[in-house]
Amino acid sequence: MASTAIAIFLLGIMWLSFEFGMTSSKELAIIAVMSAVAAMGRVVFAALPNIQATTFVVIVSGFVMGSRNGFMVGAASALVSNFFMGQGPWTFWQMLSWGLAGASAGVLKKVFPNIGKAGMTVFCLLWGYFFGWIMNFWYWSAFIKPLSLKSFITVCLASFWFDSLHAAGNAILYLLFGITFTKVLKRFYRRLKVSEGRSGLKKSTTC
């Protein structure tokens, strides 16, 4: 119960920062599109075991569009895809995990602007495991006793192969397609900023 409350609290904080931040209509539309594309990532690779392009798309979105937008893309993609696949107790935690993946990618961009392909590949790989551990957290906190490090490690060991496949999938996807994907998104994101500046609509279109 407490763990679910923590997840909802964290989601709430990030959500509020998005609500009270300045966001233009074009930014909102791009976030919605990226959320839908990320949600599609769960479907496209359904045939390949636990390879989820969602994490990769969310990380690239966060890296290009910043922490706040990256979080929103991650959280929205989990919620939206589950409207079609079925919401479950995993939804909050998927929202939190993918949201944090996007937000951390934004922070990574600020700290290491020129991180490079190798660094990003490692980051994607690590998020495969982080995602699994966050998802394990709710399971562990709600259904396992005693709540000790040993029992948590046991739960993580049980999901190790799934997490490893997820991590390897993320790394391979970034290694093969990360640069092009980032370029495409960067180009559109820059275009969005430029068109607003020229037309002088920046103030009127933000809310």
Partner: protein, 304 residues
């Protein structure tokens, strides 16, 4: 996958006000997380089952229960492995490097079983949510508190099925051009699938510009938004909400007084007392009110 998990069936429980439905679902969820007594959890499971049956969602429930049963396997295995608090040791296992000596106790096995039941309860409540509340109604509720986020969610929810159709079109076009998605090495297959996503991404990003311009043309962000509430809160919604809240307070009262919770370690505590029976009766009466109302709604025109 192109259709929502929710199906409109014109049923009483689907016609409840979204707030009333959400309150009731949240009460079921909170109660299943508060109680640790298997009798209470089994009762909640049955109540949720009756509600799902009233929503003609037994097939969806089967899907959720199958997934839930798979998830209970680690709960059943890990609890006896890591817990050393149980006094009735049934089996002394080998000494493992990280775990120490493995003692399988009856209390830990029982705890694992009860937690599995709780997991099935939680899964059933989510199944109920999926078949009871249309996503649009959920988003409508959220809109009042977080309109920008809700707008993103609404747009993405509309785009998702459209993108799936578009993806299928792109796949067919690629197949006509001779691309075989089944053939090739792992990298080649991945490459082909990723090409699909590229094309989809580019066309969708172009579309997003049009969406944004359409939003601007409709004065998005030009001032304070107005909100028009169209769904009335009817007496039936009031009754269901009141029943849910009464059950919640009874559950919290019981939990504070020590009913509904069970001692597992070092020895199993009592399963039921006289007060437990009274509380169980009251709780289930409250939780079954929407089931009775739904039954009446189907059979008596005065309920409509």
């Amino acid at each position: 996958m192109e259709e929502l998990f929710y199906r409109e069936k014109d049923l009483f429980l689907q016609k409840l006000h979204p707030t009333a439905a959400m309150v009731f679902i949240c009460v079921l969820m909170v109660l299943s997380l508060i109680f640790t007594n298997p009798l209470y959890l089994a009762g909640l499971f049955l109540c949720t089952g009756f509600l799902i049956r009233e929503l003609q969602g037994l097939k969806s429930w089967e899907f959720f229960l199958k997934a839930g049963l798979l998830m209970t396997i680690p709960v059943m295995i890990i609890n006896p492995l890591v817990s050393k608090a149980g006094a009735t040791v049934l089996l002394r296992g080998p000494r493992l490097p990280a775990f120490g000596e493995i003692d399988i106790s009856m209390e830990a096995i029982f705890y694992g079983a009860v937690m599995s039941l709780r997991l099935l309860d939680v899964m059933s409540v989510f199944c109920l949510y999926n078949i009871m509340l249309h996503p649009d109604k959920t988003l409508n509720m959220l809109e009042r508190f977080a309109f920008k986020s809700t707008l993103v969610l609404s747009l993405a929810t509309r785009m998702f099925p459209a993108m799936l159709r578009r993806l299928e079109n792109i796949r067919e076009i690629q197949a006509v051009r001779g691309v075989d998605f089944e053939k090739g090495t792992f990298k080649e297959v991945l490459d082909k699938y990723m090409n699909l996503i590229y094309i989809l991404l580019l066309s969708s990003l172009e579309d997003s510009m049009e969406i944004a311009e359409a939003m601007q043309a409709r004065a998005f962000g030009s001032g304070r938004r107005t909100c028009y509430i169209r769904i009335p809160f009817k007496p039936r919604d009031f009754i269901c909400t009141a029943a849910g809240i009464a059950a919640l307070f009874a559950g919290i009262f019981g939990a504070v007084k020590g009913y509904g919770t069970m001692v597992f370690y070092p020895y199993l505590g009592h399963l039921i007392s006289r007060e437990d029976i009274l509380l169980l009766l009251f709780l289930h009466m409250m939780l079954l009110i929407p089931v009775f109302m739904s039954w009446g709604w189907r059979r008596c025109r005065y309920f409509r």
